[in-house]
Symmetry: D2
């Protein structure tokens, strides 16, 4: 189960401190121009070492295209991408090979398989998400050719929430925060947190615009179901919302339902999905990231023999994994959308929306 | 995509007002005793017409076992279950055949397929969930043989939240509410709501106890990812949380991480899952249900030609779909767990937990 | 694994002597006109009791459409078909419940599952293939809309081979034999065989014409690989050939390779498939059916305790299962082609053949 | 569809003249010892350049293990294997970039995708099978731990058939021929063929011994159906037989059915499979390979504009692809068996054979 998707299938491999990470993208349509440098932008957005607020590990994340591209264009055969790991410091992990960090996958991998690669979290490391971002570069290209764009931002850091929502501010700060004036406040918050040795959670929101109505496969392959699985498969995610999400619990039906007029929907509490199928409105997904469990604050734990030990995590870690999570959530959104688009095309022949197509409008959700 | 699961595969079929609904359960282990009457209890819990707070449609939900069971025991071949629809009143829907109810799948099915069965919501009706509950009766039996139990309750109705959490109270009221003394308050709330013609959302929590450590398939088939998809595939669901869920956004790492001791975990913010694999703690999932969009309050809408019309929904509907949702969420939890158990057995041979197995403890999450 | 296909997915259920058999067809495009009477022709071609050369069991094979069709047209939701079993005589099988017929699945089902439904072969009965033929009626319709036709005939019965190949003769005799003048000879052969209590094998050939170049999914979903699996999944099949098949073993490359000219291919040893992808030539598949193992000639066997017993099979059986196999092989060919067409459309957008399209020519293979 | 298998999933990638070929093996149980040198033996058996009777291309086929193995043992996470291509001579293919070789996938890939990598056959090259052999090294290890062995040999080269069947002779000659005394005859045959510029077909037989009864998934995942697909997915295969195969067409039922006695089966016409499930007898599969279409004998063909051209294939090719096919067929047999074993374990818990287990006996089939 290291494969994501049904018709666009991305299989990832690699451990955090192994020789390399990589992926195979199968089912990709032919004719998409792809070059190694296309991956640089999004991989840099996801990378550690971009600011003092993320792990100090520095990986170049140079992508080698091993197959599936001929003379700069996809051929329809599987596209293999490879990134060598260059800055793994496995000795940092010698002490935890025999003990389980609380809140970590150490214990569960060991229980499941009876063996685990303890170096850097092995397969459970967020390093795996690098390949999701790489694969999604191709999906974003294909979607963009169809007028579909995907973007995201952080909408909560601990207790902090944006005072304004300005998309133009997002790429101008290391937090993907949509309110430029709050950035110094976030910097200070993170500096204090890092100093304390603790970590904190975050909430990310991703949005896809231009999705035509009709994508999504009822009943079990609903667009929202696939998105929920996609987001929850990201390390540290504990919750997923579509549109109004948990706010819908306290809404009345007369308030929640999005009125349709010939000029468009008047709101988007649905988050762009009804009955598991896109409405033509923006797809809006919110994702909760838990705080990192790898802290230098000591904590009681267990060793592999069941004896109590004190755990102090060394190694290099993010005090807030949510800081780098925006491009990862975007990636999963893009991969789901492209996969759903191909599935829709298979069954319905891409006939496109039946009239009347109601103009989509972005409303706060 | 009307199939749920990987090794335990449930394929459902049927429209709300068609001749029948049914399912085929493939991959079920042989040797499980099953009789038609085994389905009655959970189907009654899910049924409409159980109280004045749900739709008045009355279906007997008599299950016919068509295959896969010989002399009262499963044989390993596909189990087909059939329920005839008997109380469909399709004429109620004549008026909406040519128009789209806001907040409903009417519009998106029509956009996707260019055709739709408008009677009772067709395939998009919650009637489909009947078969999930039926299929899960078998999964619950198989899990119970392994010491795994699944249960659930409503933990929010609009703004109302339980004052106490008493599992013994849950089955004693039509809301699956864990605080008996609040039931009159809920009754009054729902009576007023029904009178107003409006609807409201709800939050359901389901819990699985006795799950051994080791179930769940990293990276994309994580137990939490599968649960998120399963829950989000239920009609009207807009959000899913595992353990602390969105609360984790404001937690510090030192607070969120669940300390392990030889006597057990000291908390369960993880909701029983780390790295996508069960920890041995209770699995805890929260689900947000939106308010029903089918209201008798008039609302602007569109007809199939794009003209504005006034929509008044007749037919029989639930003023809070969450009221009947507890057994459905339980069903999805049971189906995911059994599927994951089979997958774990395939790869790891069911060797069971490696020592030390830490005792699971239920903590508030 | 009772589901066939990837995008057009047919899940069958039911035992030979259970209450019913049925199937669920998922992924079918919307807009195909389907009525219960559409199934009659092909089901009659497959049915027993059509001549004295097949089993005397008589089933009406009345198809009930339970879902997925609204006002006579497919809606894109799962299509469930149901056929009640009416002429099962299970008491014929009481004697074999505790013993294993040689050459039968009795023994292997029991070894696999530890339990089996012995009545009429249970799930292993060829009765299951009824639903393949029913499902393929829809596939044949969809293919015909695209100019693709599927047909088949028997090309060997024991040692007998057709003296001429006349497609017009095929439907005029109970053997689907392409040479009318030989039919009396076949009748006499089968009469003698039936009298002797023995059975014999047969070879069926099925052909699809009008398939455009480009269908088939390299590397593991090759059109020929899918066809081989499809045919081998039919009861009693022991061999599958594409085009020249085993004859290719003794061919030289200069003889086997099909020369391409602007006027078309000059031969079709490839059977219409190169590199797993259709060439535009007719797809030609040959299938070997073993002789039925259920004979009234006594044979040494075993009972469930491992003791030697004499087996005499009563019940009603075909002396040559190949006689009814032509529509079944056609069905599998049609299902594979439609599935591959949908897959091709998903990835390549149904752009259709790139020029030059070489005219396909049927050549003996 | 570059993934093979259901629970043991092998995804391959790479073109013949691209930078590398590789695979990802997902679902592999933990705890299997694997080292890079384990792959050498089988890869050498499959390699070109082993004798003058195969292509002169020389690849070292050095396997790099990129993931999934920690301290020499599989961890349950995906195993990525990489082989760099070192001896590609792409300039040999410049002339065929604009033209289609008859009998080749050139034409169909171009029709399907509108683009193709012409160098060395691109993805359609038999070079891809290298990774099948590599992946199967792990499967063979796992099977051997359970007493299951897989081996194969060539049983026909053009018109030549073995005079004796001596397994000990097979590995002593470059043809995998089971009769040592005929080897000079085969050498002379191939020398003459190569000189003539032509090619020839071959038949390979592979056998698995020690398979317990019970493996195989009815109805569509039958062991024989999966084997047929597996073998037909190999380049140049045109036919597959299980056990008696096409010989069963002329057999009587009284002759074909394998009698069961307490001492074992008295024959193995079934090839070890009944009802799609293993019987405990040896699994016997025969595979027909067509003659290579890449000949230096000129032949009429077409260019990409549909104009007639003369095709003379240069590059390095095998005059009989069957010569190197034995390890490839073994690989597919091993991969199918391990996959089926895991599937059986998932559903049936690996309870193993129910009594009576009849001893398996190898009989000529």
């Amino acid at each position: 189960m290291n494969t994501f998707g049904h018709l666009l299938r991305v299989t990832t491999f690699g451990e955090s401190h192994g020789p390399a990470i990589g992926c195979v993208i199968d089912g990709c349509p032919p004719g998409i121009p792809i070059a190694p440098e296309d991956f640089a932008h999004d991989l840099a957005r996801r990378a550690t070492g971009r600011s003092r607020h993320t792990s100090a590990r520095h990986e170049d994340d140079q992508v080698e295209i091993l197959s599936g591209v001929y003379e700069g264009v996809t051929t329809g055969t599987p596209i293999a991408l490879l990134i060598r790991n260059v800055d793994a410091r496995s000795k940092d992990y010698a002490r935890i090979a025999e003990r389980f960090r609380p809140g970590h996958a150490d214990y569960t991998y060991w229980q499941k398989y009876g063996i685990r690669d303890p170096r850097g979290g092995g397969r459970a490391s967020a390093r795996e998400t690098t390949m999701r971002v790489a694969a999604a570069v191709i999906a974003k290209k294909w979607l963009a050719q169809r007028g579909v764009t995907v973007r995201g931002c952080m909408v909560q850091l601990g207790e902090l929430v944006p005072r304004r929502h300005d998309w133009d501010a997002v790429e101008g700060n290391p937090f993907f925060w949509p309110c430029a004036e709050q950035v110094p406040e976030l910097e200070a918050y993170m500096d204090a947190l890092r100093k304390s040795g603790d970590s904190v959670g975050a909430r990310i929101q991703v949005v896809a615009e231009g999705v035509p109505p009709g994508w999504g496969e009822p009943v079990y392959g609903k667009l929202d179901a696939e998105l929920a699985a996609a987001m929850m498969s990201i390390n540290a995610v504990k919750g997923v919302e579509i549109g109004a999400g948990f706010t819908a619990v306290t809404q009345k039906g007369s308030q929640h339902r999005d009125v349709m007029t010939p000029q468009g929907f008047l709101s988007n509490h649905a988050g762009g999905i009804l009955g598991g199928i896109s409405t033509g409105q923006p797809i809006v997904v919110s994702v909760a990231f838990k705080p990192t469990s790898s802290l230098r604050l000591p904590v009681p734990g267990l060793d592999v023999d069941g004896n109590p030990v004190e755990i102090v995590t060394t190694g290099r870690h993010d005090p807030c994994v949510g800081i780098r999570a925006t491009p990862i959530c975007e990636a999963m959104l893009a991969l789901v959308l492209m996969d759903q688009a191909l599935r829709h095309r298979a069954q319905c022949g891409d006939v496109g929306p039946v009239t009347p197509r109601i103009p989509g409008q972005m409303a706060e959700c």
